[in-house]
Every structure is written in C-alpha cells, then in structure tokens.
C-alpha cells in the first residue's frame, strides 16, 4: 500500500456516494470531465508550457476568424446592431487579463491549457452568476458561448490527453461501458462517478474487476482537481480527497484488517466447494476478459459459468471475424480445461455495450431487441459466433448459452442455427466436439414459467438474477428513483427461481445462477436451499463465496428456504437468510455488509 500524507494546508474533502464495489484504493485522482463539456485534466511538463501556449494562440486566432465570419454574416443579414454582440465576443476572447490568468495558471499548476482556460472561465462565470442584477448575471452566457467555441478549437488543435501513465482513481460524470472496457486496468485503481447505481453495468464491471467503485458522488467532477491524493472507499461509499493524516492512519489500520481476511479467504480457495453436509456446488466465474482466466485457478474456480462475449465482440469498431473469435474461444477453453467454459452469445442492447455500430436507438431498449432477439434478427453476425464457438469445442468442455430467451421458439431457432453451423463445419472439414452443452439464461418471467418446456430442449439453465428481478418486479435497476425497490429476495422472484430449478430436476438438467445474487452471501443460503447446483460469480468474489458455501448446511438451507416460501416480503426473506448466514459465517458476513444489503 502506497500512501502519502497530503501537504499541510490542503483541506480534506469528503464526498459521499453509494459504494457499489467494495475495497479501497489509495491513489492520485484523475478527473475525466467529458459529458460536462469540459476538457480532460492532465499534467504537463515544464518544457511543454511553450507549446501549450502556442496551441492556445493558434486556437485564439482561429476562433477570432470564426467569430469575424459570423459577425459579417449577421451584419449583412440583420445589420450592425445585431452583429455587435459578436464584436463583444471577440473582445471577450482576446481579453488580456483572461489570457494572463490562463497562462499563469498553466505555469503554476502545470496542467493542460484547455483545462486552465476552462477553469479560469468557470471562475468568471461563477462570479457573474452571483451578480445581483439578473440581466447581467444571465449574460454569463456570452462568456460561455465564446469559451465553448475556443475549447472546441483547442481540443481539435491537438490538446489530446496523453495516455495516463500514473496509477489513479478515475473521477467522472458517468462512464459508458465502452469507457470501462478501454481503460487501463493496471493503473486504474477504482472509480467514482456522479451517475450510476449499484446494478448499473459499470458497477457490475467494477465488482468483476475487483476494484472499488462509488457512484452518485455529487459534484465531484467540478470540485476535485486532477492529481490530488485521494482514498476511495468502495465499501462505505466515500471519496476522500486530500485526506488528512488522521484519515490516512485510520484507513491504513482498516486496510490491514481487510488484507488479513483476504489472505485467509484466499488460502482456503483451493478446498472443494461443498457444504458441511457434503452437497457439491459447482463454483464458477463470471468473466469478460480473456486475461482474467489466469486468476481463475488461484481463486478456486471450477470453471467459467458466464463468459460475456459482447465486450470482446463490440470492443473495437468491427466485430472480430470467425478465425479471430475461434482463436480466442479456443484459448479460453484450453485455459479453463478440465473445467467447463460457458459462453453467453452476444447480449447486446439494454444497458450493455453501446451497440452503436449495430443498432439505431430504441425507445425502450430493455424491452427491445436484446440478446437472442438481436442474434436471431442478424444471423450473419450470430452464425459467425456460433461457428467460432463450435470450433472451440474439441479443446475442452464448452457450454453455449443464449441470453434473453422469452419464447420456446427462440430456443428452437437458435438450436437449429447451431445445428446448421455444425454440419457446415463438419462438411468443411473442421472438428466439432460431441459433448458441448446448450443452455438458456432464465432472466425473463415467461422463460421461468416455461421452464418445463425449455428444459426438454436445453442442457442447462442459468438464472440471470439481475434481469429476472428487474423484469419480474418492473424495476429499472439503473433508475435511482426506484432502485431501492430492486430486491433480489422478492418472493415472486424466488418462486420463479424455484419453478426453474424444479423444471430442471424433472427433466434431468442442472440449474445455476450467474447474476449478482450469486455473490450476495447474505442470500446464499436461499440459493443453496432452493437446489441451485452451480454459482457463477465475479473472479474476485470466488474466495468469499467458496468460504461461505463451505460453512453452510444444505439441509438447514432447504428447510429455511421452505419456510421463506410462506413469507410475503423481501425484507422478511432476507432476514431469515441473514440469520442462517450469520450463524454460519459471522466474520465474513460482517466484512461485506454495508455494501451488499439492498433490502
């Protein structure tokens, strides 16, 4: 742990948000102000000052030219009176005090010129907005207009943020999933955003990467400067900038305790995943990046229960071709063997990857062309993926799983396409394994209600609890206004899950859980009790979940689950499960509470 004390005189700033991925990061801030029409902030070297000023001068000149052009046009159309405002804009643009302040900030702070300009302008605008005369206050807009024009030019003229090279905590207004994919995970130690919720995709990603994240941190982008010391506490939902000596010492102590627990859990991770009374639970990992595969075995995974292919497929502008896909799938399968790798086919749409390359926006993407619906509508994309997956089957145990299935016919059509691909491949001379399994994600209520029919055509079920909860209870998990109504222990949801497990048993197929709920150790007794045979969790959660499984008694869980079916409220169900969990693993439960209880 590398922790610096903040220089005397800098005030400690504490921002409260919602911790969505536990853990601690001690680092420097990096502020990404995109989406706020403000530039990125990064530091420059002393020898770059002159070239920054040069770019600034160039941008000023170009902006002046643009403004003069506008003034002339307006003057021709509407006369001098109207065009005078653009003359005023030119004066604002070239104001010497403003320029001096920007340049001295550049030299003193050694941060990029665009940010200096932005910060100086913000200062002026703030002052103007505070003016009592409301007309004058409103005219801050003139300044904003000029500033935005100059910033556009500045950024276009080469104020390009260099790749960040220092370890940092990213502070941003919001992150798109593609932002999170492209970030350098070796140096990004955590992130704090103004938007987002516990179940938004970026939060899920943070948990899967095992880095702390805090969302709902109001005003952080405006008030935090780049390169400040900070502590990000994803467990308590705090971002502390310029931490005081006392704060640092407190956190150091806390961090050491966490470390001890983490090491203890990890030391047990190679033990078998079974309950005290001997029920075996397959413990697998949710994975999105091929490089996570290395950590599976050290963290005690039996295999991959969910390989999310959309990150890989949609990461670059073009979808990788069949050979490229086949190569990646093969490497993953070989890396995980003798364990099983379950690939989920492209799950685009909803809050997932942008899909911009593929789709025009839908009015309600969550009820739109997501998952298998997209794949079936675009067989030219789907078949490439299916063929590539089949080509990986000779190298180990492979599961192919379809997301967002709501109808029996969708599963049938997907399977028919898979068969078609298989015979094509065989006739082309490729080898295809015989023992791959075809699975269905159960994440839509109609699929759970139809589980008995689906089970006759599928080899396994994997319950995607995030979507199942959202579709069953009609709660948008990203909407902060209702996210407190998002309750995995909802009795309706539990009944659908139970139906799924029973339909599976009746037809001789197994049921797993790959949603967030699988790593909620407060609810783990419920999942074990309802007869779930496989759990798939984020790589960093594996040791925790395994340790919990090993302390539970299957028979006790079964009885408890049976009693819960008579309860009508999520809170009471969670409480029952909590009591059992508390009895079995009080220390680990304490460790995670505070971030994980939604109910």
């Amino acid at each position: 742990m590398n922790l610096e004390y903040t220089a005397v005189g800098l005030r400690e700033l504490v921002f409260e948000g919602k911790g969505v991925s536990p853990g601690l990061a001690f680092s420097k801030t990096h502020v990404n102000a995109r989406g706020f029409s403000a530039p990125d902030v990064y530091s420059i070297r002393v020898d770059q000052v002159d070239s920054e000023i040069e770019v600034f001068e160039k941008a000023l000149a170009e902006t002046r030219e643009q403004l003069e052009g506008i003034r002339e046009t307006v003057s021709t159309i509407s006369g001098d009176e109207e065009s005078q405002i653009f003359e005023a804009h030119i004066f604002l643009l070239e104001d010497r005090t403003l320029r001096q302040r920007v340049c001295s900030m550049l030299k003193d702070r050694l941060v990029n010129i665009s940010y200096c300009y932005y910060a100086v302008i913000q200062g002026y605008m703030e002052a103007l907005r505070r003016v009592e005369d409301s007309y004058l206050a409103e005219r801050a807009i003139d300044l904003e207009d000029v500033a935005m024009r100059l910033l556009d030019n500045l950024i276009r003229l080469g104020d390009k943020a260099p790749p960040i090279e220092h370890a940092h905590v990213l502070i941003a207004y919001d992150l798109t999933p593609s932002d999170t994919v492209s970030m350098d995970r070796d140096i990004m130690l955590g992130f704090a955003t103004e938007k987002g919720s516990h179940t938004s995709h970026t939060a899920i990603l943070a948990r899967s990467l095992g880095i702390p994240a805090v969302v709902g941190v109001e005003d952080a982008v405006m008030n935090v400067v780049g390169l400040a010391n900070c502590i990000l506490d994803g467990t308590r939902g705090l971002l502390i900038v310029n931490p005081s000596r006392e704060t640092v010492d407190t956190y150091r102590e806390y961090w050491e305790k966490e470390e001890i627990l983490r090491i203890r859990l990890k030391s047990e991770s190679s033990l078998p995943s079974e309950t005290v009374d001997g029920r075996k639970i397959t413990l697998s990992a949710n994975v999105e990046f091929a490089n996570e595969v290395d950590q599976l075995k050290t963290n005690g995974a039996d295999g991959i229960g969910l390989f999310r292919t959309e990150f890989y497929l949609l990461e670059s502008d073009e979808i990788p071709d069949e050979d490229q896909q086949a190569e990646l799938y093969k490497e993953v399968v070989k890396g995980v063997s003798p364990g099983m790798t379950i690939f989920r086919t492209l799950d685009s749409g909803g809050d997932k990857m942008s899909g911009e390359v593929l789709e025009t926006p839908e009015p309600n993407p969550f009820l739109g062309r997501r998952g298998i619906r997209f794949s079936l509508a675009r067989p030219e994309i789907f078949k490439v993926q299916l063929r590539a997956l089949l080509r990986a089957t000779p190298y180990g145990k492979v599961g192919i799983m379809f997301p967002m299935v709501s109808l029996l016919s969708e599963l049938e059509r997907a399977k028919a396409l898979l068969e078609e691909c298989k015979s094509e491949l065989l006739s082309e001379g490729y080898e295809v394994g015989d023992d791959y399994q075809v699975g269905v994600m159960i994440e839509i209520p109609s699929a759970a209600l139809l589980a008995n029919e689906l089970a006759k055509v599928a080899d396994f079920f994997s319950i995607g609890t995030n979507d199942l909860v959202q579709y069953t209870t009609a709660v948008d998990r990203v909407n902060e206004l209702v996210s407190d109504l998002y309750r995995p222990a909802d009795p309706g949801v539990l009944r659908l899950m139970k139906m799924t497990v029973e339909a599976g048993l009746n037809n001789g197929i197994w049921t797993g859980v790959c949603g967030e709920m699988a790593s909620d150790i407060e609810l783990l007794p419920l999942l074990i009790g309802m007869g779930i045979e496989e759990l798939s969790v984020g790589v960093n959660k594996l040791p925790l979940v395994k340790s919990a499984i090993r302390k539970l008694n299957y028979q006790e869980c079964r009885e408890m689950f049976g009693e819960c079916l008579a309860l009508g409220k999520a809170q009471s169900i969670r409480k029952r499960s909590h009591m059992l969990a508390r009895k079995a693993y009080p220390v680990v439960l304490n460790h995670v509470l505070g971030t994980e209880s939604n109910e």
Binding site: I85, A88, H89, F91, T97, D133, Y135, A137, L143
Partner: protein, 88 residues
C-alpha cells in the same frame, strides 16, 4: 492622473456589448484607464474586468486615466458612459 465620477444610465447596465464599446474606445488611448465601482477597480481595457464590475443601471463608476493622453481619454470615456454607450 485624472478621475471623474459618472453614473451608468443605460437600463441594462454594462453587459457584454457596452463593455465591448468601452474597451474598444479605451484601447485607442495610450494612457492607463481604470474603472472603479464600490471600491473594486479594474482595467478599463479589459472587457472581462468591466463585466465583472457588474455595473447595473444607475451604478456609480469612477474613471481614472493616467498617461500622455489622459485628459482627452477621460473626456471621451465619461462621455461614452454618459451617452449610454451609444446603446439604448
């Protein structure tokens, strides 16, 4: 160094356009031109400074000039304010 008090008479106060007029006129002189309002003094050749004064209708300004052409500058600048910056 010369100074003179003047009252802002245009209804909308010194917003961007009159401020620009002021700066444009002031820049024709070589002398220093400063504008003071409520003990806050700014550079009369900087539009930002003038706007920051937030000089609304009927606010009292003191214009100070210092340099070779200070006399002419003071007259022209006070006239400009008194004549509503050729604004409304």
């Amino acid at each position: 160094m010369l100074s003179q008090e003047v009252i802002v008479k245009n209804k909308l106060g010194i917003h961007a356009r009159p401020a620009a007029q002021f700066v444009k006129t002031a820049s024709q002189f070589s002398c220093d031109i400063r504008v003071e309002k409520d003990e806050e003094e700014v550079d009369g050749k900087s539009i930002m400074g003038l706007m920051m004064l937030a000089a609304g209708y009927e606010s009292k300004l003191v214009i100070t000039t210092e340099g070779d052409d200070e006399e002419e500058a003071l007259k022209i600048m006070t006239d400009l304010v008194a004549n509503n910056f050729d604004d409304n």
